[in-house]
Structures are given as structure tokens and as C-alpha cells.
Symmetry: C4
Subunit: 265 residues, 4 copies
């Protein structure tokens, strides 16, 4: 890696040097300003008065972030590794809307996806420990993904069946005009959001809805239980004690012997 | 078991051979298509234009699944074991609505119960581990059933008593016209769904409803706590393996040595 | 205790003998019927047609349960112990409404408090294990009571402060007419029930409400966490292993030495 | 510290002596009465009839609490330590509104922040154990703060992006007039509050909202899992006591002997 590439990498990707830190602070500020600009521009009164200024500001940021994206590509040895990473995709999606809006009116609103870039904010502050905590959450999410998928398929099958039943029971008058809308109602109810734009009117429908609500209320316990268990596991096994014989980590706090090789800890 | 029976069993019930895998993929596709057909057919505009095509499609699927059901019965030595299993009942309920709709208009909507057949989807993918995770959830549900029943009786008694009290306090004007409707309101509120179609208007009613909401909000913790504990237990001790040396159980799935005495498991 | 007292106690309080079991089954049936009667009687159409029959039925049950209450008093050596127990108070409250309704119209609705008597239902079924599970839940509730009280005082202080702030910000137009009503809105929102009968209209109010919602959404985690921990503790320490030396129970599953007396388990 | 300072400190800050206990009881009573006064005064009917009396009452309490604040400052050696503590800030905020209301009409409503002073209530009752439990909750909150911050940034980025998307999809007709309001809707929905004042009308919007609801419903599990784990940890290891023989920690509060090696703690 050439020298200028190494220097660029230091500034952009790491926050150890003063230049690196300053880059990150400016980046965060730019992201926050650009998201605020898009947000305020969407309010009619503000757009009518200051519309042009906001559009100029947004193009300024888009050009700025495009230059930054190109610099990121140049500062790594394998650009494809960055392009397909979580942050790489977010950064690309954060650039597109403004270019799209030349063709499609209004899509510049999507610029707010830039707010996901704020997850970089932790490189400015006590980087190490925030990122370690984020990793704990990430490990927990990944470890529980299979149980979550099983759970989701069950939930989807339930809301479809319940939606269809309510469509049969309530019919058009209460708003249950077809199955898709009834499924929407079932999701609104089972997640306990409960807008009230559609609500059962017939006694049978209300009785059936009651069963669904108590079910949803109890079923909420399942993903919570899954997540709690996984976060607990991820938290406990970040204990950095490594077995002296086999150097493996991930022992429980009260283990006396290494469960991987049998040596005493 | 005769040879053709064994071959049939391999294809339908198992997914080890290419034929078995192909059967499962086609089955999933057929289920998804048939559920989509029923869902779209329920939308008025679509039904008016394409109604006939959808009905033909649904009958095609019903015949297909009936043939599949018969094949399943033929491919096992004890058909009753399949008929009364969880999947057996789902498969039967997935067939009935279309036959019923010859007599009762509209019941073909219930065909969406076919979506529960999608739980078979895990035989196509990493079968083993998804099914193991599903078993963990299932064990947790079964192990907690007694606590859940105690909890449910308590909740039912509460919503009945609260509903009757609100019927007394609020009376007809706010919509609390009788006890069944007031109980419905109590369930809608305690599960925090909160449609707003019925809401207390009098200060006393609102005060009482506030107590119910804080109660429901805290009581939600109970089934969640129950489920978390059971999922944790089911996850950790799905291995009933006891250490040969010290006979202790409770080893994690990835343990190779007993953490209590160091002997190999 | 006299012989007839003992026989009476066997039938009423215990479910070991056929007579005891029969008594409990009849009792459950009577409770269910009487709650159903009160519930249906509250529906206008039904009351107009069958009102008189229902009132006769309710008086029949009230007399029946009064006789049962007197029998319970006679069947124990210390009646006061029953009168002030959980079930004793429930049973008394289940009798009063009908007598009150001679003076106050409509209070017979409160007869549904009889539904709490359904908690006796577990004496008919697998008594032992349901009651043990109920005891686990009860122990968990009792053990967590102090944390719950601290939590509740914090929640009440929060909803009062937030309610007053919203009353200041929103004023009369959005329905935040005075502090009590604003506090009611704060509870409806923080518990995520969200009727929508009162909702903030001003941007500042909506921003402030957003903060409250995210807070309530996260704060819900606190009682859940408390309950999960206590249920876990109550579940684990019902392990019936008693220390051979000091006979104390409540050891964790992986304890090797008794934590009370130091002897090996 | 002079003698009168010591005596004052005993009365105000501690509750060991009869005078100290009496002071606390009177303080709690005064706080409750003053919060009740502000609450009732906000109701129009009551203010019209008794307005003057309430204002006099509030000024009485404000003077009383100002005197108490000054006494607290005098009773400690380093006043700044009290001024910047949690309770010190609460006590100051509890005094300001009435003084502010000379300039700004209506701000006396903020007097309800005095209700936070009710957290002192635990010094009157079984002080030790309630404060220990409160410390457990406080430790849990502090220990989880980093995970909570990571979680919050993720939630904020999500509601902004979803809000902007819905603003694009639904447009003005359904109430999604600009991004700030759409973000407000996203928060109302993701926290499952669901007022219903704004709700998606287009099929695409409803489909997208459904995904958000299931997401929010599952994401609720994350802070709950975090809190549960931290409360569990804080409960078990509030004793930092290490076993003198084997130096292991993690003993429960009621352990007398080390569960790992049997030695007395």
C-alpha cells in the first residue's frame, strides 16, 4: 500500500490521530446538518420561503459525500470489501436519492437514510467500549436468528389465518373489505399498536379479536425471551479469561474446568 | 412396508434425496401460490376482472393437495398417526374450505390456513438446526404451560371484574353498554392495544382505567419472564447428557469436558 | 374437631375423596353459570326478554353461595383464619353485590367478582403441580415487591410531570384541558395503550410526546427484567435437593458445597 | 462542623432520631399536599370557585420549601455537593416554577415536578432495603447505558428513514404532510402506542407499516433483554465480597459459605 494510501486510510477509517479524529467529527457534523436540511425542507412553509437555499445545501452535501466515498474506495486495497460491507451499502444508499431526484420528484426525502451513517458516531467517543457493546448486541441478534425466523413464519401464518377469519366474520361494513386489509388489521392488533381505523363491530368478531389480543400479548414474550437469553450469553462469554492450555475463551463465570480441554482454569 | 411405500415415504416425508428435496420445493411453491391466489381474489377489483381464473386455480390446488393428502396416507404404515398429528390436522383444514364453499358462500377465504403448511419450509433449508431451534421453542412453550394457565385464569377474572366495574361507572354514554362490550374494552386496554373506539369519559372511569393500564403494563412482564426462563432452560439443557464421572447434568451443547470435574463427556 | 366438622372439611376444602371432588366440580360449574348469567343479563335485548328469569337465577346462586360460605365457616376450627385469607375475602365480595343491589340499582354487575373464585379450579385438576407453579409466580411477585414499589413511585412522578408539561404546551385545544386529564393522557401514552382520544397537535407537543413514548417503550423493560429475574430465581430454587447436613433447600443447580453450612452436597 | 449544624443535619438528612423521622413524615405530607393543590387548581371549575385559596396555599408551600432548601445548604459542610446531586437539582426545580409564574402565566403547573421529591419517601419506611433495591435498579441502568445508547441511535435512524419513506409513499392526504410529522407517526407506531390520528391509507403504505410494526414488536425485546440481564447481574453480585480461600466472587447475598470451595465467607 502506497504511502499516501496509508495516510488517507489513517484519516478516514481510523480515529487514532488528531487528523483522524477531526475527520470523524466533521463527518458527523456534516451528516447531522444534511439530515436536518432534508427534514426541514419537507415542511411546506419552510420550503416556500427558503426552498432554493436548501436545494443548494443538499447538492453541496451530496457532492461532499460523493468525494468522500471515492476517497474511501481509494484508501483500501480491496474496494469491493468496503462496497459490500454494512457501512459501504449505507454510504451508497445515502448518495443515490439526490441523483435519483433529477428524474423522480420528491425522492430527495430518502436522503434521511444518511442518518444511519450516524452509527459511525462511536468512533469519536469512547470507541472501544461502545463498539464492544454493539458487538454484544450484534452477536445476540445473529445467534438468535434461527429462532427468530421460526417465530416469524409462525406469526405470518397466524395473521393471515386470523385476517381471513375476520374478513369472513365482519365483512365489509367494519372495514374488513378484503383479505389484505384484514391481514393489516391483524398485524396492527397483534403487535398491540391498535390504530382503531379498523375495529371489529360484531360480538363474534370482538370475541375473536379478544383472543387474538391476549395471544399477541403473550406471544410478545417469545422474541423477548429469545433476545434476553442471547444477550445474557453474549454478555457472559465476553469474559476475557482464556484457558491457559487451549487458549479458548467463552467460559462461564463459575466454570472450574475448561469445558473444551478439561484443564483447570 | 412395501417397496413403493418406502419410495413414496422417502419423497414425501423426507428431504434427503434429490426427489425428496424437489418435492418439498414444489410443495412450498404450490402453497405460496395458492395462498396468494385466495388473498388477491378477495380484493373486489381483482375479483371482478379475473374471478373465474382464480376459482379455477383454487380448485386446481385443492385437487392437487387432496391427491397429496391421499399419498401421505398411503405412504405410512399407521395413517391415524399422521391424521392426528399437528401437520396432519393442518393439512386437512387446508383442504376443507374449498369443499365447504360449495355449500357456504365465502368460506374459501379460509384457504389461507394453508399458510400454516409453510412451517414445512424448514425441511428444504438447513433442516437440522432450524428444527432443533423450533424444538427449543416448543419445549419452552410446553414446560411453561402450567404457569401460563394460572396466569390466564387470573387475567380473565381481572378483565371480567374490571369490565363490569367500568360498565357500572361509565354507563351507556361512553359505549360501555353492557358487560360483554366492557370486557372487550378491558382486554383491548390491558393488552395495550387501545383502539379508542370505546374510551372512558368520566374522571372516575379515567382514573380507574389508568390503574388498569399500569397494571397491564406491569403484568405483561409475567408471561415474558416465564417464557424467558423456559427458553433459557430449554436452550441450555437440550442435552440430557450426564457426565459419566460425576453424573452431573446441565452441560452446554458445546461442552466437550465436564465443567465440574474435568472428565470428558 | 368434631366428626361432622371433619367430614365437612374433607368435602369442602379438600379434593381427595370422591365427595370432595364432586363438590369442587359442582362449585366450578355454579360459579361459571352465575358469572355467565350476570354477563348476559347486562345486554339490553336479553334483559328485556328474560330479565325476571335471570334475577331469580342470581338470587338462587347468591343463596347457594351464602350457604356454602356459612358451611366453610363451620368446617374450620378458626373461622377468622378463613375470613381474612385471600379466598375468604374473594368469597365474601362475591356475595355482597346482590345484597347491595336491593339498595343500589345496578350493582349486581359486580357479581362478576365471582370469577375470581375460578382460581379454585386447580383443585379439580392436577392439583399439586398447578398449585406449585402458582406458588412460584406468587413467590416471584412477593420477592420483587420492593423493586416494583420503587419503580411505581418513579413512574407516577414521571406521568405527573409530563402531564403538567403537556398541559402547558398544548393547552385546551387538543384536549389537554387540565392536569388530571393530561396525566391520564401521559399514562395512556407511556403504557403504549394510545387510545387517540387525546393526542398532541403542536410540533413541540409532538416532539415531547415522542420522547415520552421512547422512554415508556424502554422503561417497560424494567418491570419485565425484575419479574424475569425473580421467576428464574423462584424456579431454580424450588430444586428439592436438601443439604444432608443442615437440610436447607434453595441451592443453585451447580452448587457443589452448601452455601449455608459449607458441607458438600 | 458546629453543633447546631450537626443537629440540623440529623433532622433533615437522616431518619434515625424521632425528630428526623417526624421531619420526613411532615415533608412527605407537604409534598403530597402541594402537588394535589396544583393538580386540582388546573381544573377550571375548581379554579373559578377557589382560585385565590389555592394560590395562597402554593405560595405557602413555596416559601416553606425555600426555607427547607436554605436549611439543607446550611446543614452540610460542602453545599455544592448537595446543589449538584440528583435530589439537589430536583429540589431546586421544585421551587422555581412559582417564582417564574410571576413573569410567565401558567408555569405554576410545573410545580408538579415536586412529585419527584416523593422518592424521599423511602427514608420513612424500611429505609435500608428499599434503598438497596433502588440501588440495584440504578446499577442496572448505569451498567446498561452503553448498550442503550447504541440501541437508541439505531432506533432514531430507523424512525427517520421509515418516516421519510412513508412521507414519500402516502403523501399529504393521509396526514403524512412532511418529514417531522411522518417521523412522529413512525415513533407512535414503532413504540406500539398507535393513536390512529395518522394512519396509512394506501396498500403500499399499509404493507410497509406492517413491516415496521413487526419490527418494532420484536425490537422491543432488545432493551428488555438488556435490562433483564443487568438487573440479574446487579441483584446477584451486589456483594463484591471475594472468598478469602479461593478468591472467587459471585456469591449470593444470603450465602454464608463459598459455593466453590466450602470455606466460610
Amino acid at each position: 500500500m502506497k504511502a499516501w494510501q496509508q495516510r488517507l486510510h489513517e484519516i478516514i477509517y481510523e480515529a487514532d490521530t488528531p487528523a483522524g479524529k477531526a475527520f470523524d467529527v466533521l463527518l458527523i457534523a456534516a451528516i447531522l446538518l444534511s439530515v436536518a436540511a432534508v427534514t426541514f425542507e419537507s415542511v411546506d412553509q419552510i420550503r416556500q420561503q427558503f426552498g432554493t437555499y436548501f436545494r443548494i445545501l443538499e447538492w453541496f452535501f451530496t457532492v461532499l459525500f460523493t468525494v468522500e466515498y471515492i476517497l474511501r474506495l481509494l484508501a483500501v486495497q480491496r474496494p469491493s470489501k468496503y462496497i459490500f460491507s454494512f457501512f459501504g451499502i449505507i454510504d451508497l444508499l445515502a448518495l443515490l436519492p439526490n441523483y435519483l431526484s433529477i428524474f423522480f420528484f420528491g425522492t430527495q426525502s430518502l436522503l434521511v437514510v444518511r442518518s444511519f451513517r450516524l452509527l459511525r458516531i462511536f468512533r469519536v467517543f469512547k470507541m472501544g467500549s461502545y463498539l464492544r457493546q454493539a458487538k454484544v448486541l450484534q452477536d445476540a441478534l445473529v445467534a438468535s436468528r434461527q429462532k427468530v425466523v421460526v417465530f416469524l413464519v409462525g406469526v405470518l401464518a397466524t395473521v393471515f389465518t386470523v385476517g381471513a377469519l375476520m374478513h369472513l366474520i365482519e365483512g365489509d361494513k367494519s372495514g374488513f373489505t378484503n383479505i389484505p386489509v384484514s391481514v393489516y388489521w391483524a398485524i396492527v392488533t397483534m403487535t398491540t399498536v391498535g390504530y382503531g381505523d379498523i375495529a371489529p363491530q360484531t360480538p363474534l368478531g370482538q370475541a375473536f379479536a379478544s383472543v387474538l389480543m391476549i395471544l399477541g400479548y403473550g406471544v410478545l414474550a417469545v422474541p423477548t425471551g429469545i433476545m434476553s437469553v442471547e444477550i445474557a450469553r453474549a454478555s457472559i462469554s465476553t469474559s476475557t479469561q482464556a484457558c491457559p492450555s487451549c487458549t479458548k475463551q467463552g467460559h462461564e463465570q463459575d466454570a472450574i474446568f475448561c469445558k473444551y480441554c478439561g484443564s483447570p482454569l
